[in-house]
Symmetry: C5
Subunit: 241 residues, 5 copies
């Protein structure tokens, strides 16, 4: 079985984010049959657990475009694709419409490295998430302008330091993960966050809107996907009621 | 039960705005069954009344994308999500398509505070809504540009004062409420208004288009949602005819 | 009954423009039943004739997004909403999808007034529509940029004079009506025209593209709705064949 | 009957371009019934042949938004609308969705006239299409910026001469037709081309991208509609298989 | 039969890329009937193999807009259109919706020719793909701004050299193919890549974002289509489960 802690911390791992909107046809299936959906989906998750780690989120009510979000991590995109192909053959999958698909890959640090920004790296390493288990997750695709990409590393480093400094206070109550997507998908980065403190998360985002790096973001969300963190079973049951 | 007056005036409260378009399938349900829809929705509202305050608006005819709007206030987004999940299982919910979902949080004043702008604060406090009960509500999402967010507080304050001065005459006939959404949703602010005087409301908006703050708005509506203020029962009955 | 001539010439009147696309389901209704649709719609128009003046246009073939346009004038938006709610319960309404909804209000002159531009006002008043009854109508939403709204009245007046001078020759063969929508809807103005001379109308629009005011228009149409002017009965019959 | 050669060469003629996507419901009609569709459509074309000249193109496979394109020429838009209303009542029309509708009018030359640009006009007149009957047609809507429209005729003429010179070599293998749409539709021009030499057509378009006039185009296609030139009967048969 | 190696390396060849989303109706066909779909599609591919070379890719899970991609090469677009018309009459085609269609033509080198850039051409020729058979393919439409097209060849050549130099290291693990579409479709270029090394492909794209040529790209993807390279049979079977 894929080790969640390991795959979530390694580089060269593919992250796939797929949102789905349950179609009216799902609710024409009898309640009795819908109550078997969670087990059916869990079986598919288990079948692929050697190569794909799957997490689920309830987005219903937060986003009009979707009801739930699946997050997959795999060492090979084709493995996640195989899982999604099987998922789409479950009764829930058959009656859900994919409304967003994002793919990215984890890589090492580009800017705040030991060589280029040792103090900042220390600051980042010295603090860790200490709040209760987070309740909500956010997926925010980010695109940077050609002007950004044409800057020297020195210029980009300076701006990424300005990006990082105001975020340090949020290390304690916001978890984060970064994926690189340039060329793999229509976004440069996928950013992912978990938190229970939404006012803090709003303040963090305002802080990042207020540094000069923001002048080079051509996409910030669009969509921002917000979901409640739940087990796969709980998500399927919530939407199967 | 959630106290409406309290939750509508506190900070750290989540406001959710969801519009719905009734699907043709709803009108294939017999008129007799549709006539029970209002009671069914009211029951769901009541079930969640300890954690969510729900209001409704008829948007049919004003907006092509929706027939009605639900406005929810809760101390926890998951509570509103639970309400919406139950709502979507009513006969009206099953046959309605969510077409817009916005979420924001209430916070204290940023600019026109006692410290930074005492006179303006006094002026704001000295006038209050004195017209008859308002008939219409407007939801207007607002986004500000990276250039705005990169300004100093002094610069932003000056522009927010320019924003506020021409609006003072409208305090008597326009009610308003502000939510912060940066990072929580694809908008920076959700603004909400109630009024019966639409010419005044048009003039107010023209006034706000004519100050320099407007040069930094990258989204102003899109959509502007206009609805008639009604009880939940009345809205459901109007669309169930 | 609402007096058409009066309501079409007064200020503080709400104009609503709604386009509809007939759905395939309409043509699954028997021809016999479809032939009753015009009478059914006329009855709804009549029921509301004390508070709403309704006109209809055939857009089929001119616009892919719609088959017909309803134009409503009322002293209160809720009255038009009540009409549209009843309309949507007719067999045609049930089987039509609203594809655009615009609302605006009529107001007095802003720029070419007796005080500010007496000569131009005289020129405007001295000529009137003298061609045959117009065959076609156009609805063109217009948005102006924040830069426009931040100009002084003197600057705006000068540009509106430049707008008006080249349009004078078209007073004889183009009818027009202006609504203000800032804050009420996602457009600043709704402009409405009637004409039989489409080459003249094309030339008029080219003339208005060629003055500096055009540099401040951020929306010009999008969509431009073109329809054939018909009675409500004729429109319903044309699409019911 | 409308004379094709005449109506295709006169000014003050309305050109309408409508694309359609055949809906899945069409293929639930029996093959036997579908095989009558061509005759049914031809009958409608014939019925209106006194006022409308109709041509057809197969777009299936070239464009995801449509399967076929109808091109109509009429001296009065209402005549084309009447044809399209009848067409939409055929079995093919009933089961096709209009996905694009464009309308424009033919006018005399604006720039390369005998007075303003005699040499160029001579060059244009001295060469004509000499290749085999063209196989493909392209419809390309073009919009010009407010900056363009605010230029003097002298400036525009100079740029239109730069537009025309590199196109002269393509007169022998590309046919073209121009419609004016400002104010009539959401585009300034509809351009239409026929050719069998797609590499030449690609080179022609590159040449026109490379002159300064291109800096003032705010829309170039979007969509470019490509179709195979066929008889109405052949198009209907191709999509009825 | 069309020779794949030949048609994939010649100029004046048309490349068509079509993505499809399988509709829910497909899964209402019995599993037994769906299991015949691959043979049915293969038969259509074979029928047209004298004029069209067809390849297939599984996009399900990578893209929400599609489940599979067909890539066609033909000496005449009408030949590919004939194939697609037959494909759309198979049980899979009938129940799939075309969601994207792109067409372009192969041409000789424009910039890095023997005359203009001999050293670079040598470098390009001296290295070839040496990794294992690639697993994934990417289709990325590219549009260049009017400013780009108005540059001199000397200026464009300099920038294309800057484009090419950082890409040389990727010749060993990324295959590529370029099509020209200006005027034929709503994009200037279609670029196509095959690789198994997605981190390398991400780095390659970042390298190309970081040269000045990127400042003239107005479209880069939108969509980027990612698919798993498979035989036609395998793709049809994967989505028919
Ligand atoms: C606790 C909060 C956060 C912290 C501590 C943080 C810190 C960092 C650091 C240190 C980097 C540089 C990584 C490297 O060296 O390659 C980075 C990159 C990045 N961060 Fe944040 N960040 C936070 C929140 C956010 C948020 C809320 C967003 C946007 C929604 C965001 C978007 C990005 C993006 C797009 C990059 C990649 C930029 C590039 O390489 O050009 N971050 N972040
Ligand atoms: C009676 C009418 C109005 C009054 C009295 C009013 C007053 C104010 C005041 C005092 C603030 C500053 C709050 C603070 O200090 O944080 C504010 C903020 C704001 N107002 Fe208004 N306003 C009115 C109408 C509107 C309208 C019609 C809109 C737009 C549709 C609008 C959009 C906003 C936004 C987006 C902010 C937050 C700006 C920021 O923090 O950057 N307001 N308003
Ligand atoms: C016979 C043709 C026309 C005439 C005589 C005419 C005349 C005028 C006049 C006198 C005004 C100023 C009203 C005032 O003082 O408040 C005005 C405003 C306006 N006109 Fe026209 N117009 C014509 C056609 C058009 C057309 C074709 C359009 C665009 C489709 C258009 C768009 C507008 C708009 C948006 C305004 C409001 C501008 C503002 O207040 O900022 N007009 N027109
Ligand atoms: C054989 C190829 C072509 C020739 C010979 C040609 C020639 C001309 C000429 C002489 C005019 C000026 C007409 C006048 O005086 O009013 C003109 C206008 C125009 N052409 Fe072309 N053209 C060709 C291809 C194209 C193409 C491929 C496009 C774009 C897809 C195009 C777009 C236009 C537009 C939009 C105008 C109107 C411009 C304006 O009046 O502002 N032409 N063309
Ligand atoms: C192994 C990687 C790559 C190599 C070796 C490479 C090399 C080249 C070369 C030599 C040319 C010039 C062709 C000519 O002379 O006409 C070219 C053109 C082009 N390349 Fe690349 N390229 C690579 C990857 C990419 C990628 C990843 C993209 C974008 C997704 C891209 C987009 C283009 C485009 C659009 C052109 C045509 C530009 C124009 O003619 O204006 N290339 N490439």
């Amino acid at each position: 079985m894929v080790d969640p802690a390991k795959i979530l911390s390694e580089t060269n791992v593919y992250g796939l984010y797929n949102t789905f909107k349950v179609q009216p046809s799902y609710y024409q299936i009898s309640m009795a049959d819908r109550s078997k959906a969670a087990a059916e989906v869990e079986a598919v998750v288990k079948k692929h657990s050697d190569s794909v780690f799957v997490q689920a989120y309830l987005t219903r009510g937060f986003k009009s475009e979707s009801d739930f979000l699946l997050r997959m991590h795999a060492y090979e995109p084709a493995a996640a694709q195989a899982f999604l192909t099987d998922f789409s053959a479950t009764s829930l999958g058959r009656n859900s419409k994919a409304t967003l698909a994002l793919i990215g890959v984890t890589k090492g640090l580009n800017h705040t490295t030991k060589e280029k920004s040792p103090n900042l790296l220390n600051a980042l390493k010295s603090t860790s998430y200490s709040a209760d288990a987070p309740k909500y997750a956010f997926v925010i695709p980010i695109d940077k302008s050609p002007e950004w990409w044409n800057k020297t590393e020195k210029e980009k480093l300076a701006m990424m330091e300005d990006h990082t400094i105001p975020t340090l206070p949020y290390l304690v109550n916001v978890k984060r993960k970064l994926y690189h997507s340039t060329g793999l998908d229509d976004t440069d980065f996928i950013t992912y966050f978990e938190t229970s403190d939404l006012v803090a998360f709003n303040n963090l985002n305002i802080a990042l809107h207020s540094v000069s790096e923001m002048l080079y973001n051509t996409r910030y969300g669009d969509p921002i996907v917000m979901g409640t963190i739940m087990s796969v079973t709980d998500v399927v049951e919530a939407i199967s009621k």
